[in-house]
Protein backbone atom coordinates (compact mmCIF):
# COMPACT_ATOMS: atom_id res chain seq x y z
CA UNK A 1 0.00 0.00 0.00
CA UNK A 2 2.80 2.34 0.98
CA UNK A 3 4.55 1.34 -2.23
CA UNK A 4 1.40 2.13 -4.23
CA UNK A 5 1.11 5.57 -2.58
CA UNK A 6 4.70 6.31 -3.47
CA UNK A 7 4.50 5.11 -7.04
CA UNK A 8 1.38 7.08 -8.01
CA UNK A 9 2.98 10.58 -7.89
CA UNK A 10 6.05 9.25 -9.69
CA UNK A 11 3.90 7.72 -12.40
CA UNK A 12 1.93 10.96 -12.72
CA UNK A 13 5.16 12.93 -13.10
CA UNK A 14 6.40 10.54 -15.79
CA UNK A 15 3.06 10.85 -17.62
CA UNK A 16 3.13 14.64 -17.47
CA UNK A 17 6.72 14.73 -18.66
CA UNK A 18 5.96 12.35 -21.50
CA UNK A 19 3.09 14.60 -22.56
CA UNK A 20 5.18 17.73 -22.32
CA UNK A 21 8.12 16.33 -24.25
CA UNK A 22 6.34 15.89 -27.60
CA UNK A 23 4.73 19.31 -27.14
CA UNK A 24 8.16 20.86 -26.81
CA UNK A 25 9.34 18.98 -29.85
CA UNK A 26 6.25 20.08 -31.77
CA UNK A 27 6.76 23.70 -30.79
CA UNK A 28 10.36 23.65 -32.03
CA UNK A 29 9.48 21.98 -35.30
CA UNK A 30 6.68 24.31 -36.29
CA UNK A 31 8.14 27.65 -35.25
CA UNK A 32 6.71 29.87 -37.98
CA UNK A 33 9.28 30.25 -40.75
CA UNK A 34 9.65 33.68 -42.35
CA UNK A 35 7.19 34.25 -45.16
CA UNK A 36 8.72 33.34 -48.50
CA UNK A 37 9.32 36.37 -50.68
CA UNK A 38 6.72 36.62 -53.40
CA UNK A 39 7.60 38.55 -56.52
CA UNK A 40 4.53 39.70 -58.45
CA UNK A 41 4.40 40.24 -62.17
CA UNK A 42 3.46 43.79 -63.19
CA UNK A 43 2.59 44.77 -66.74
CA UNK A 44 3.08 48.18 -68.32
CA UNK A 45 -0.43 49.45 -67.53
CA UNK A 46 -0.28 48.25 -63.95
CA UNK A 47 3.08 49.97 -63.56
CA UNK A 48 1.57 53.18 -64.89
CA UNK A 49 -1.29 52.92 -62.38
CA UNK A 50 1.13 52.21 -59.56
CA UNK A 51 3.29 55.22 -60.34
CA UNK A 52 0.64 57.80 -61.09
CA UNK A 53 -2.03 57.13 -58.48
CA UNK A 54 -2.50 59.52 -55.60
CA UNK A 55 -1.43 58.06 -52.29
CA UNK A 56 -1.16 58.91 -48.63
CA UNK A 57 2.60 58.61 -48.55
CA UNK A 58 5.48 59.28 -50.91
CA UNK A 59 6.54 56.31 -53.02
CA UNK A 60 10.09 55.16 -53.64
CA UNK A 61 10.61 52.86 -56.63
CA UNK A 62 13.83 51.08 -57.43
CA UNK A 63 14.26 49.52 -60.88
CA UNK A 64 16.89 46.81 -60.84
CA UNK A 65 17.90 43.39 -62.13
CA UNK A 66 19.87 40.48 -60.76
CA UNK A 67 22.33 40.75 -63.67
CA UNK A 68 23.13 44.36 -62.81
CA UNK A 69 26.19 44.70 -60.55
CA UNK A 70 25.52 48.21 -59.21
CA UNK A 71 21.93 47.12 -58.49
CA UNK A 72 23.17 44.29 -56.31
CA UNK A 73 25.76 46.53 -54.69
CA UNK A 74 23.25 49.18 -53.66
CA UNK A 75 20.61 46.77 -52.35
CA UNK A 76 21.85 46.60 -48.72
CA UNK A 77 21.51 50.42 -48.54
CA UNK A 78 17.98 50.20 -49.94
CA UNK A 79 17.02 47.54 -47.41
CA UNK A 80 18.23 49.80 -44.59
CA UNK A 81 16.28 52.75 -45.98
CA UNK A 82 13.22 50.54 -46.33
CA UNK A 83 13.37 49.42 -42.72
CA UNK A 84 13.94 53.00 -41.61
CA UNK A 85 11.07 54.68 -43.46
CA UNK A 86 8.48 52.24 -44.80
CA UNK A 87 6.87 51.32 -41.48
CA UNK A 88 5.63 54.88 -40.93
CA UNK A 89 6.52 57.36 -43.64
CA UNK A 90 7.05 55.88 -47.07
CA UNK A 91 5.88 53.33 -49.58
CA UNK A 92 8.72 51.47 -51.23
CA UNK A 93 8.53 48.94 -54.04
CA UNK A 94 11.15 47.34 -56.23
CA UNK A 95 10.61 46.54 -59.91
CA UNK A 96 12.92 43.98 -61.43
CA UNK A 97 13.64 44.04 -65.15
CA UNK A 98 14.80 40.44 -65.11
CA UNK A 99 13.32 37.85 -67.39
CA UNK A 100 9.90 36.48 -66.37
CA UNK A 101 11.56 33.08 -66.11
CA UNK A 102 13.37 34.40 -63.01
CA UNK A 103 10.22 35.41 -61.12
CA UNK A 104 10.25 32.35 -58.88
CA UNK A 105 13.97 31.65 -58.91
CA UNK A 106 16.78 34.19 -59.21
CA UNK A 107 14.82 37.29 -58.18
CA UNK A 108 13.24 36.01 -54.91
CA UNK A 109 16.47 34.19 -54.11
CA UNK A 110 18.41 37.44 -54.26
CA UNK A 111 15.77 39.38 -52.30
CA UNK A 112 15.73 36.65 -49.69
CA UNK A 113 19.51 36.81 -49.34
CA UNK A 114 19.23 40.60 -48.93
CA UNK A 115 16.44 40.17 -46.32
CA UNK A 116 14.41 42.57 -48.45
CA UNK A 117 10.76 42.71 -47.42
CA UNK A 118 9.43 45.58 -49.52
CA UNK A 119 6.80 44.66 -52.15
CA UNK A 120 8.64 43.25 -55.13
CA UNK A 121 7.52 43.27 -58.75
CA UNK A 122 8.96 41.99 -61.99
CA UNK A 123 8.09 43.78 -65.21
CA UNK A 124 6.06 41.47 -67.39
CA UNK A 125 6.49 43.09 -70.79
CA UNK A 126 7.93 41.57 -73.92
CA UNK A 127 8.96 45.09 -74.92
CA UNK A 128 10.33 47.14 -72.00
CA UNK A 129 10.48 50.43 -73.91
CA UNK A 130 6.88 51.60 -73.27
CA UNK A 131 7.35 50.94 -69.55
CA UNK A 132 10.65 52.84 -69.52
CA UNK A 133 8.96 55.78 -71.22
CA UNK A 134 6.06 55.70 -68.77
CA UNK A 135 8.51 56.04 -65.91
CA UNK A 136 10.55 58.80 -67.51
CA UNK A 137 11.05 59.62 -71.18
CA UNK A 138 14.56 60.84 -70.35
CA UNK A 139 15.53 57.54 -68.70
CA UNK A 140 17.47 55.37 -71.17
CA UNK A 141 16.61 52.18 -69.34
CA UNK A 142 20.00 51.68 -67.71
CA UNK A 143 19.96 50.16 -64.25
CA UNK A 144 19.67 50.75 -61.41
CA UNK A 145 17.23 53.63 -61.51
CA UNK A 146 15.58 55.02 -58.40
CA UNK A 147 12.60 57.36 -58.43
CA UNK A 148 10.85 59.10 -55.57
CA UNK A 149 7.26 60.26 -56.08
CA UNK A 150 5.30 62.57 -53.83
CA UNK A 151 1.72 61.90 -52.72
CA UNK A 152 0.40 63.38 -55.98
CA UNK A 153 2.44 60.92 -58.06
CA UNK A 154 4.97 63.53 -59.21
CA UNK A 155 8.66 62.69 -59.49
CA UNK A 156 10.54 64.65 -56.85
CA UNK A 157 13.87 62.84 -57.04
CA UNK A 158 15.56 60.45 -59.41
CA UNK A 159 18.93 58.81 -59.64
CA UNK A 160 20.29 56.62 -62.41
CA UNK A 161 23.13 54.43 -61.24
CA UNK A 162 24.07 53.30 -57.75
CA UNK A 163 22.31 55.44 -55.16
CA UNK A 164 24.10 57.61 -52.70
CA UNK A 165 22.23 56.69 -49.50
CA UNK A 166 22.92 60.08 -47.86
CA UNK A 167 21.49 61.91 -50.87
CA UNK A 168 18.49 59.56 -51.05
CA UNK A 169 17.74 59.99 -47.34
CA UNK A 170 17.85 63.77 -47.77
CA UNK A 171 15.38 63.53 -50.64
CA UNK A 172 13.08 61.29 -48.60
CA UNK A 173 13.26 63.60 -45.59
CA UNK A 174 12.12 66.47 -47.80
CA UNK A 175 8.91 64.73 -48.83
CA UNK A 176 7.88 62.72 -45.81
CA UNK A 177 5.52 64.55 -43.50
CA UNK A 178 7.12 65.96 -40.42
CA UNK A 179 6.50 63.62 -37.53
CA UNK A 180 6.07 60.63 -39.84
CA UNK A 181 9.77 60.06 -40.21
CA UNK A 182 10.25 59.12 -36.57
Amino acid sequence: MRFTKAIVPIALCIMLLSLAAPAQKYKGRTAKPPDPIVVSAIDTNELKDLLTQQRKRPLLVNFWATYCDPCRDEFPDLVKIDKEYRPHALEFVTVSLDDMADIKTGVPKFLDAMKATMPAYLLNASDPEPAINIVDTRWRGDLPATYLYNEKGEIVYKHIGRVNPVELREAIEKVVKKGDSQ
Binding site: Y67, C68, M100, S126, P128, D142, L143, H159, G161
Partner: protein, 201 residues
Amino acid sequence: MKRNLSILLASLFVIAGAIFATGARAEGEVPAPPAIGATIEDFTLTDVDNKERSLKSLAGKNGTVLLFIAVQCPVSNAYNERMAKLAEDYKAKGIAVIGINSNVAEAAAAVKAHAEQNKLSFPILKDSGNKIADKLGASVTPEAYFIDAGNKLLYHGRIDNARNAAQLETSDLRNALDAALAGKAIEKTEAKAFGCSIKRA
Protein backbone atom coordinates in the same frame (compact mmCIF):
# COMPACT_ATOMS: atom_id res chain seq x y z
CA MET B 1 58.59 63.08 -37.55
CA LYS B 2 55.48 65.25 -37.38
CA ARG B 3 56.26 66.59 -40.85
CA ASN B 4 56.54 63.05 -42.21
CA LEU B 5 53.24 62.15 -40.63
CA SER B 6 51.58 65.20 -42.18
CA ILE B 7 52.97 64.31 -45.60
CA LEU B 8 51.75 60.74 -45.17
CA LEU B 9 48.26 61.87 -44.14
CA ALA B 10 48.10 64.39 -46.99
CA SER B 11 49.14 61.66 -49.45
CA LEU B 12 46.48 59.34 -48.07
CA PHE B 13 43.85 62.05 -48.52
CA VAL B 14 44.96 62.61 -52.11
CA ILE B 15 44.85 58.87 -52.86
CA ALA B 16 41.46 58.49 -51.15
CA GLY B 17 40.19 61.50 -53.09
CA ALA B 18 41.38 60.03 -56.37
CA ILE B 19 39.75 56.67 -55.58
CA PHE B 20 36.54 58.40 -54.58
CA ALA B 21 36.58 60.54 -57.72
CA THR B 22 37.03 57.45 -59.90
CA GLY B 23 34.45 55.39 -58.05
CA ALA B 24 32.02 58.27 -57.82
CA ARG B 25 31.34 58.19 -61.53
CA ALA B 26 27.88 56.78 -61.52
CA GLU B 27 26.33 54.96 -64.44
CA GLY B 28 23.90 57.84 -64.77
CA GLU B 29 26.76 60.12 -65.70
CA VAL B 30 27.35 58.52 -69.08
CA PRO B 31 27.93 61.24 -71.70
CA ALA B 32 25.01 61.95 -74.00
CA PRO B 33 25.10 60.02 -77.28
CA PRO B 34 25.54 61.87 -80.58
CA ALA B 35 22.34 62.91 -82.27
CA ILE B 36 20.97 60.92 -85.16
CA GLY B 37 22.57 62.35 -88.30
CA ALA B 38 25.81 63.28 -86.55
CA THR B 39 29.07 62.07 -88.08
CA ILE B 40 31.10 59.60 -86.06
CA GLU B 41 34.81 60.30 -86.28
CA ASP B 42 37.15 57.50 -87.28
CA PHE B 43 38.86 55.80 -84.36
CA THR B 44 41.47 53.13 -83.76
CA LEU B 45 41.34 50.42 -81.11
CA THR B 46 43.17 47.15 -80.61
CA ASP B 47 41.46 43.88 -81.43
CA VAL B 48 41.55 40.74 -79.26
CA ASP B 49 44.96 39.86 -80.77
CA ASN B 50 46.27 43.28 -79.79
CA LYS B 51 46.41 44.50 -83.40
CA GLU B 52 45.40 48.07 -84.10
CA ARG B 53 42.26 48.32 -86.19
CA SER B 54 40.59 51.49 -87.34
CA LEU B 55 36.88 51.93 -87.93
CA LYS B 56 37.72 52.89 -91.52
CA SER B 57 39.62 49.63 -92.12
CA LEU B 58 36.70 47.50 -90.86
CA ALA B 59 33.78 49.48 -92.22
CA GLY B 60 31.33 47.99 -94.71
CA LYS B 61 30.72 49.63 -98.06
CA ASN B 62 27.07 50.15 -97.19
CA GLY B 63 27.50 50.93 -93.53
CA THR B 64 28.69 49.56 -90.23
CA VAL B 65 27.04 48.36 -87.04
CA LEU B 66 28.94 49.04 -83.83
CA LEU B 67 27.78 46.69 -81.12
CA PHE B 68 28.80 47.25 -77.51
CA ILE B 69 28.94 43.78 -76.03
CA ALA B 70 30.17 42.00 -72.91
CA VAL B 71 31.61 38.70 -71.79
CA GLN B 72 29.75 38.32 -68.52
CA CYS B 73 26.49 40.18 -69.08
CA PRO B 74 23.56 37.72 -69.34
CA VAL B 75 21.58 40.11 -71.51
CA SER B 76 24.44 40.55 -73.98
CA ASN B 77 24.97 36.80 -73.91
CA ALA B 78 21.30 36.20 -74.65
CA TYR B 79 21.97 38.01 -77.93
CA ASN B 80 25.09 36.08 -78.97
CA GLU B 81 23.33 33.95 -81.57
CA ARG B 82 21.31 36.88 -82.86
CA MET B 83 24.44 39.04 -83.17
CA ALA B 84 26.36 36.32 -84.99
CA LYS B 85 23.43 35.83 -87.38
CA LEU B 86 23.12 39.56 -87.94
CA ALA B 87 26.80 39.81 -88.92
CA GLU B 88 26.46 36.83 -91.23
CA ASP B 89 23.23 38.04 -92.86
CA TYR B 90 24.43 41.57 -93.60
CA LYS B 91 28.04 40.83 -94.56
CA ALA B 92 26.91 39.90 -98.05
CA LYS B 93 24.89 43.10 -98.20
CA GLY B 94 27.92 45.27 -97.52
CA ILE B 95 27.21 46.08 -93.90
CA ALA B 96 29.97 45.20 -91.44
CA VAL B 97 29.44 44.41 -87.76
CA ILE B 98 32.09 45.41 -85.25
CA GLY B 99 31.88 44.39 -81.61
CA ILE B 100 33.28 46.71 -78.95
CA ASN B 101 34.02 45.61 -75.41
CA SER B 102 34.43 48.57 -73.05
CA ASN B 103 34.14 46.72 -69.75
CA VAL B 104 37.17 47.47 -67.63
CA ALA B 105 37.20 44.05 -65.99
CA GLU B 106 37.03 42.05 -69.23
CA ALA B 107 40.52 41.61 -70.68
CA ALA B 108 41.23 41.00 -74.37
CA ALA B 109 42.05 37.34 -73.71
CA ALA B 110 38.65 36.78 -72.08
CA VAL B 111 36.93 38.63 -74.92
CA LYS B 112 38.71 36.42 -77.47
CA ALA B 113 37.83 33.18 -75.63
CA HIS B 114 34.20 34.30 -75.28
CA ALA B 115 33.98 35.15 -79.00
CA GLU B 116 35.37 31.75 -79.99
CA GLN B 117 33.12 29.93 -77.57
CA ASN B 118 30.03 31.75 -78.85
CA LYS B 119 31.00 31.73 -82.53
CA LEU B 120 31.08 35.51 -82.79
CA SER B 121 32.94 35.74 -86.06
CA PHE B 122 32.86 39.53 -86.44
CA PRO B 123 35.86 41.59 -85.24
CA ILE B 124 35.74 42.64 -81.62
CA LEU B 125 37.75 45.62 -80.41
CA LYS B 126 38.85 46.30 -76.88
CA ASP B 127 37.93 49.81 -75.79
CA SER B 128 40.42 50.28 -72.97
CA GLY B 129 39.58 53.32 -70.91
CA ASN B 130 36.07 53.29 -72.48
CA LYS B 131 37.01 56.19 -74.76
CA ILE B 132 34.71 55.10 -77.57
CA ALA B 133 31.88 54.21 -75.18
CA ASP B 134 32.18 57.75 -73.81
CA LYS B 135 32.39 59.29 -77.25
CA LEU B 136 29.25 57.46 -78.36
CA GLY B 137 27.46 57.71 -75.01
CA ALA B 138 27.03 53.94 -74.81
CA SER B 139 25.65 52.92 -71.45
CA VAL B 140 24.69 49.24 -71.62
CA THR B 141 25.45 45.96 -73.35
CA PRO B 142 24.17 45.16 -75.86
CA GLU B 143 23.79 48.58 -77.47
CA ALA B 144 23.92 49.20 -81.22
CA TYR B 145 24.95 52.11 -83.44
CA PHE B 146 24.39 51.94 -87.19
CA ILE B 147 26.39 54.35 -89.32
CA ASP B 148 26.29 54.72 -93.07
CA ALA B 149 29.28 54.61 -95.42
CA GLY B 150 30.01 58.24 -94.59
CA ASN B 151 29.96 57.50 -90.85
CA LYS B 152 26.64 59.29 -90.37
CA LEU B 153 24.66 57.90 -87.44
CA LEU B 154 21.40 56.42 -88.69
CA TYR B 155 20.20 54.31 -85.77
CA HIS B 156 21.05 54.00 -82.09
CA GLY B 157 19.63 51.68 -79.46
CA ARG B 158 18.59 48.13 -78.85
CA ILE B 159 18.96 45.21 -81.22
CA ASP B 160 15.33 44.22 -80.78
CA ASN B 161 12.57 44.30 -78.18
CA ALA B 162 13.26 41.12 -76.24
CA ARG B 163 16.09 39.57 -74.31
CA ASN B 164 14.21 36.31 -74.66
CA ALA B 165 14.25 35.50 -78.38
CA ALA B 166 10.94 33.67 -78.03
CA GLN B 167 9.27 37.04 -77.31
CA LEU B 168 10.72 38.81 -80.32
CA GLU B 169 8.28 41.30 -81.82
CA THR B 170 10.30 44.18 -83.24
CA SER B 171 13.72 43.83 -84.83
CA ASP B 172 14.57 47.52 -84.63
CA LEU B 173 18.19 47.23 -85.76
CA ARG B 174 17.43 44.92 -88.69
CA ASN B 175 14.55 47.19 -89.71
CA ALA B 176 16.96 50.13 -89.78
CA LEU B 177 19.52 48.20 -91.85
CA ASP B 178 16.90 46.99 -94.30
CA ALA B 179 15.46 50.47 -94.74
CA ALA B 180 18.90 51.97 -95.34
CA LEU B 181 19.78 49.25 -97.86
CA ALA B 182 16.51 49.87 -99.66
CA GLY B 183 17.20 53.60 -99.75
CA LYS B 184 14.18 54.31 -97.57
CA ALA B 185 13.90 56.51 -94.51
CA ILE B 186 14.40 54.64 -91.25
CA GLU B 187 11.10 54.68 -89.42
CA LYS B 188 12.49 54.31 -85.92
CA THR B 189 15.95 55.81 -85.53
CA GLU B 190 16.21 55.33 -81.77
CA ALA B 191 15.00 52.61 -79.41
CA LYS B 192 16.09 52.42 -75.81
CA ALA B 193 18.76 49.82 -75.26
CA PHE B 194 18.47 47.61 -72.19
CA GLY B 195 21.07 45.39 -70.60
CA CYS B 196 23.99 45.52 -68.22
CA SER B 197 25.64 48.83 -67.56
CA ILE B 198 29.10 49.15 -69.10
CA LYS B 199 31.68 48.86 -66.33
CA ARG B 200 33.79 51.93 -66.97
CA ALA B 201 37.36 52.50 -65.81
